[in-house]
């Protein structure tokens, strides 16, 4: 696919929702209130694992101002097993499965009365043995979270908590390792991290006794919220209208429901609108987080840097319910390399922790971290250049990937070559400083999408899409619409419609929005263009096929078609009432040719040998994004992903005590990177067009969180002269490694 010339794509206009966001007008999840609204609060288990013997809500119900109290008894058992787990995660049934698990909820006329009512609910618990560590949870004899859900292929060597097993690869490991001059086998651990969005989960629910409901919430996918809530509340999807508020960050963490079914149930019971907002403590204890991991990696390399064989064993812990996510790690682990002999296996494991949910490139960062750390150690041992070695093994177009498919056009080699040529890579290093390199990969997704576009009589265009805008997508969608229609950007207004306004759209995840909504937008524009050409043909009294669309106007295809001056979109729209009525275009589909994306990160870290503190001194991130629609927001994705990865590498972790309670449920103790921790993050955009998108777009949101874990770890390992095998690399761990 050759590079195209664009008028609007690649420019950096001000985002359409920007003014509201810098002036405080934008309405986020907790910003909406209605008359007569009640406030919800949720009572949560202080125990890691306990049978709920009884719940006495009588005193809470008797408190003046309390309008409804609910427990697990108010929620029906569901036919769909997976929705059932989601429901039980929102409100415990017979057992509390983790510290923070919801056991009851109240709705009252004020926040303070709701808080007071919580204290009047009496829960009798019978404590059960718990487990929070992945390796412990896999051992036969570990306390099992749910019976009868063990992965079918597994035997007695692992406990019933092991709910998933996956294996990918090709070739013969024994043959490959025999060809190696050096084989390194290492074990790694990474802590669970939280998505850390600054906006806590929030919603406003109103569900009438007639089964009709309105739900306003902060979510990455309001159709998904509707689907789940309709099932849990046993109402029809058409009767529950869900509106996505502006969303204050999600990173995968808002792809499910936590408080929405609870607020709807409280509304149904009280007959009043109910607002529910999580506290930060609740966000940490009961939403998110991502998986923690325990991994074994074995890689063989020839003296000249060719990887001869590679093996990964990944054990992920995903909290208190069955889940499927280690598969993504097993598929991603070796995606960057063209290998003859490769195998990756993964095990999904339950523990007494909050139910995991996606976090940006879910499953990939930890697997790639472990692989890239061993690749780096091999480079050190064999005295090879880390980028040359990666180039020697790099996947490219035609490579059969370690997880099966053969890659189409991809940009890993281009990213590696750009990194090698960048001044950062050859800059001198100061004392106690190390330079780390890592590749990263993410699949990107397509998925179901609906777009509706109306051409207004004044020549402007309204576009409705169904995907919450989490990082500037209304800007990129508007730009693609303008490019496709051939009109100025300011003629277009894009909004995110509610579930009653436009057709089904999958969740804003998988880096899919610019890709999938983009394709739907282009197709909707083409449908509108077809109609506008038809109207022009009607006016000119020529054949419809003799009209083409050029630079935002209909024109005859040639002299034979007739001599008419071009009719612009505005001119055609102005007379649309007389040529057949309003003009619109729409598209519904499920595009599936999302191109995979690779990145390469370079980091210089300085480690203080006395304190073990690591300072990030310089950071450059290279990423193939296919085509950057709005380069500034693409850079922002790369920068933001890199910094989340830096936090994962250095600071962030869920810390559990022996009692199975989370010890750091707040931003003071769960420390995400702050401005003073960081240097500028230099993003380098690489554009190898995705052949599966008319403009060449690949997803760009997730790949950037994958390389930083290993890049930082490799930098630290080189700075201190000792390899690190565990994240986060907090100062005590680094001091211990230094010895």
């Amino acid at each position: 696919m050759s590079k195209q010339d664009f008028k609007i794509l690649g420019t950096r206009p001000i985002r359409p929702d920007g003014l509201d966001k810098v002036t405080g007008k934008a309405m986020f999840g907790a910003d909406k209130s209605v008359t007569g609204m009640l406030h919800a609060r949720i009572l949560r288990s202080p125990h890691a694992h306990a049978e709920i013997v009884s719940i006495d809500t009588s005193k809470a119900k008797a408190l003046p101002g309390v309008k409804a109290v609910i427990t697990g008894a108010d929620f029906d058992e569901l036919k769909n097993r997976w929705t059932g787990y989601t429901s039980q995660n929102c409100m415990a049934q017979d057992r509390a499965l983790y510290d923070g698990h919801a056991v009851a909820a109240v709705a009252a006329i004020s926040k303070s009365i709701a808080a007071a009512a919580l204290k009047l609910i009496e829960v009798e618990y019978n404590l059960l043995p718990h487990v929070t560590d992945v390796d412990e949870a896999m051992k036969p004899g570990a306390p099992v979270l749910h019976v009868g859900v063990k992965a079918r292929k597994l035997g007695d060597e692992v406990s019933g908590n092991t709910v998933g097993y996956y294996s990918f690869g090709h070739g013969d490991l024994e043959t490959g390792f025999a060809e190696a001059d050096e084989v390194i086998e290492r074990s790694f651990k990474t802590a669970a991290t939280h998505q850390g969005y600054i906006e806590p989960h929030a919603c406003l629910a109103d569900l009438g006794s007639d089964g009709r409901g309105e739900l306003w919430c902060s979510t990455q996918g309001h159709y998904n919220v509707r689907l789940i809530c309709a099932e849990i509340l046993d109402i029809e999807e058409s009767q529950l209208r869900v509106t996505a508020s502006e969303i204050g960050g999600g990173f995968g963490g808002k792809t499910t429901v936590f408080i929405e079914p609870v607020a709807l149930m409280l509304s149904r019971k009280s007959g009043k609108p109910v607002k529910a907002v999580m506290t930060r403590d609740e966000v940490f204890r009961a939403s998110g987080p991502t998986m923690s991991s325990s991994m074994d990696i074995k890689i063989g390399m020839s003296k000249d840097g060719r990887i001869t064989a590679a093996q990964a064993k990944l054990r992920y812990q995903g909290g208190a319910f069955p889940y499927q996510m280690v598969m993504m790690g097993a598929m991603s682990a070796f995606a960057a390399y063209d290998l003859d002999h490769v195998q990756s296996e993964g095990w999904d494991v339950m523990t007494n922790r909050p139910k995991m949910i996606s976090y940006r490139a879910p499953g990939a960062p930890m697997a790639v971290y472990a692989v890239e750390a061993v690749v780096d150690e091999l480079c050190q041992k064999l005295e090879l250049d880390p980028i040359d070695t990666r180039l020697k093994n790099a996947a490219r177009e035609g490579t059969k990937s370690s997880y099966g498919p053969t890659f189409k056009a991809i940009g890993l080699v281009e990213a590696l070559e750009a990194a090698k040529a960048h001044p950062h890579y050859s800059a001198p290093l100061a004392e106690n400083t190390g330079r780390g390199v890592s590749c990263g990969f993410w699949f990107n997704f397509g998925g179901q999408v609906s777009v509706s576009m109306a051409i207004n009589a004044d020549g402007t265009v309204n576009l409705i899409e169904g995907n919450p805008d989490i990082g500037g997508s209304r800007a990129s969608i508007s730009m693609m619409a303008a490019e496709a229609l051939g009109i100025p950007l300011d003629r277009i207004r894009t909004i995110v419609g509610d579930t009653a306004s436009v057709g089904f759209s999958d969740v804003t995840d998988g880096s899919r929005v610019t890709f999938a909504v983009g394709i739907a937008t282009i197709n909707a524009a083409n449908a509108a263009i077809k109609e506008m050409c038809k109207r022009a043909a009607m006016i000119w009294e020529i054949d419809e096929d003799a009209v083409e669309w050029v630079d935002g106007a209909a024109q005859p295809t040639g002299h034979n078609a007739g001599e008419f001056p071009p009719m612009s979109l505005a001119e055609i729209a102005a007379v649309s009432g007389k040529t057949g009525g309003p003009i619109a275009g729409h598209h519904e589909g499920a595009p599936d040719k999302a191109g995979v994306s690779f990145g390469v990160h370079l980091v210089d870290v300085e480690v203080d040998p006395e304190t073990g503190f690591t300072a990030v001194k310089r950071y450059t991130a290279f990423q193939d994004v296919g085509k950057a629609i709005h380069p500034a927001y693409v850079e922002g994705q790369i920068q933001g992903g890199a910094v989340q990865g830096i936090g994962w590498a250095l600071n962030e972790e869920y810390i559990y005590g022996e009692d199975g309670r989370l010890q750091n449920p707040g931003f003071l103790d769960y420390r995400i990177p702050v401005a003073s921790d960081l240097p500028m993050i230099d993003p380098v955009i690489i554009e190898v067009p995705n052949p599966g998108h008319p403009f060449g777009v690949r997803g760009c949101g997730e790949t950037a969180i994958v390389p930083p874990l290993a890049a930082v770890s490799n930098g630290v390992s080189r700075a201190i002269g000792k390899r690190m095998f565990e994240l986060p690399m907090s100062p005590p761990k680094i001091l211990k490694a230094i010895g």
Binding site: G18, F28, D31, I198, E246, F251, V277, A675
Partner: protein, 160 residues
């Protein structure tokens, strides 16, 4: 529980409200005065999303009681743009694409404006340390820091 009557100034306007003794200034602004620009990201003073000015001082409004602001002057993000003109900090945040989700943006606007009123020519390091109490999970801070430095330059009448 009887409520407390408070008279104060918010964004230059005299306002009165009744609040419970335990209610925070943030709750009052959001729930009683319908000024939802300040956000509650943590409720414990760790994230800066609720930043407002109280008598010329930058505070986390989740750590101030509503009853404390009797006779004070409170300035929120809603009061910063005037006569349809954005403050340079707001303008530069937009120009630099320095927001993604935008939930931290009101706090950043208030805090950065406060910095530039104290220090017209801050270094990158000074901006980074001043904004260290304003958590942003989307941007990695790079574009925010550049926007604030650029706003400072514009306010000084020089190009960055």
């Amino acid at each position: 529980m009887s409520k407390i009557h408070v008279s104060t100034y918010v964004n230059g306007d005299a306002v009165e409200f009744l609040c419970e003794p335990g209610e925070t200034l943030l709750d009052v602004l959001r729930d009683r005065l319908n000024l939802t620009g300040a956000k509650e990201g943590c409720g414990t003073g760790d994230c800066g999303a609720c930043s407002v000015m109280l008598d010329g001082r930058l505070v986390a409004s989740c750590l101030v009681l509503g009853a404390e602001v009797e006779g004070s002057a409170v300035e929120t993000v809603e009061g910063i743009a005037t006569d349809d003109a954005l403050h340079p900090v707001q303008k530069k945040l937009l120009e630099h694409a320095a927001l993604q989700c935008g939930i931290c943006t009101p706090g950043i606007v208030v805090a950065a404006k406060a910095l530039l009123e104290k220090n017209a020519d801050p270094s990158e390091e000074e901006v980074r340390y001043w904004l260290a109490g304003n958590l942003c999970r989307c941007t990695g801070y790079d574009k925010i820091i550049r926007a604030v430095l650029d706003a400072a330059a514009e306010m000084r009448g020089v190009s960055a």
